[in-house]
């Protein structure tokens, strides 16, 4: 065996992946060849160092960390599966509906959405439809107030006759869904204004309702 072959098979020799015959040939060669012996020794030393590095380098994750990671996963993973957050004091059942609009980013004072960007939904007269308002936040918002102001002729199921309804609620970082079961009691339609207030900050969202 020559030095080039030893060099080409070095990895397999170190990893014990050569045949018995080839292993013996390499071992025999390095007995007589100082250069190849140095290379093999350096390769073995590197393997030892890499194994020692593995023993010393990885920080220990504690049992508490693993327990907490599992708990967070089941808590947040469940939210990801179901995607709906119950609002305190709002008793509607979760129902299929249209995901309407999403607001991303940090919660801060912003100008209202320009008229051209206001989404539109269509309701059939006297038929209840569920519309999902999706609020995305990059942070948890505890003790926020959500106020919905309805135009004449549009009502929320369970709040008949009321045009302004407010809820105290908390949002978690991520997507928070408010399902609104709307009923059009007249063909006039109009604009729904939803305002989310947290501390001194607030953000308003508009939704145009057409009735057919």
């Amino acid at each position: 065996m020559d030095c080039k072959t030893v060099n080409d098979t070095l990895d397999d020799y170190i990893d014990g992946a050569l045949s018995t015959a080839d292993t013996s040939t390499v071992s025999e060669h390095i007995t007589h060849c100082g250069d190849c012996r140095s290379i093999v020794n350096a390769a073995r030393k590197l393997q030892d160092l890499l194994k020692a590095y593995g023993d010393t380098d990885v920080p220990t994750a504690t049992a508490a960390f693993y327990d907490s990671a599992l708990l967070n996963a089941s808590r947040n993973g469940t939210r990801a599966q179901h995607r709906y957050l119950w609002l305190k004091g709002f008793g509607s059942a979760v129902a299929a509906g249209m995901a309407l609009w999403i607001v991303s980013g940090l919660f801060f004072k912003t100008p209202e959405v320009p008229a051209a960007a206001i989404p539109v939904v269509t309701l059939a007269l006297e038929e209840a439809h569920t519309i999902n308002l999706v609020f995305s936040s990059s942070i948890d918002l505890v003790d926020a107030t959500l106020t919905v102001i309805l135009p004449t002729g549009i009502e929320i199921a369970g709040f008949e006759g009321q045009r302004k309804i407010s809820w105290e609620t908390s949002l978690t970082a991520g997507r928070n869904v408010l399902p609104l079961r709307l009923i059009a009691t007249s063909p006039q339609g109009g604009e729904i204004l939803a305002t989310l207030r947290h501390g001194d900050d607030d953000r308003s969202f508009r939704l145009q309702v057409k009735v057919i």
């Binding site: 990895d11 350096a42 160092l49 599992l70 967070n72 993973g77």
Partner: protein, 183 residues
Amino acid sequence: MSGAGINQSEVFERVLRPHMERLYRLAFRLTRNKSEAEDLFQDVLTKTFGQLDDLLTVRDAGSWLNRVLYNRFIDNKRRYARQRLVTVAEANLPQQSIEALAGNSDPVRDIERLENIMRLKSALDLLSDEHRTVILLHDTEGYKLSEIQKLTGDPIGTIKSRLHRARARLRELLQESGTFSGS
């Protein structure tokens, strides 16, 4: 899987527990940073909970989890180019590692070994991400070539070639730093 009487959290924990330590080590090997490893690990567990039904049907849960983590790491790396700077800035041995070596009765040899490991760490920083990943997984964490292939999706020949080049480059760097003597 969903339904009355089945506690998903308990099932999830039973399936995950045997693989968590290896998964965490992989997260650390890839990110080279404790807090990023913890974030990546948590992220993958949360994602996996939402895919529990899939996890329960795979034959090799450990490989499946590793693959999810590896893909998540690659996605994050593409999005956040700053990651490499963070890992290089924190490339110091933690205090507890020095204590772990102090059990040897030869303090001079301990110090020399520690210095060699620090030089190795610096040399690893100079490798490309692909070379560093394959050598750490194979030579440090003991992953077989077939396991690395399942993780990365790269052909075995490519992985072997990267490993060969990574080892050669590390030997070169460690010789330059005086860790290895000779040719």
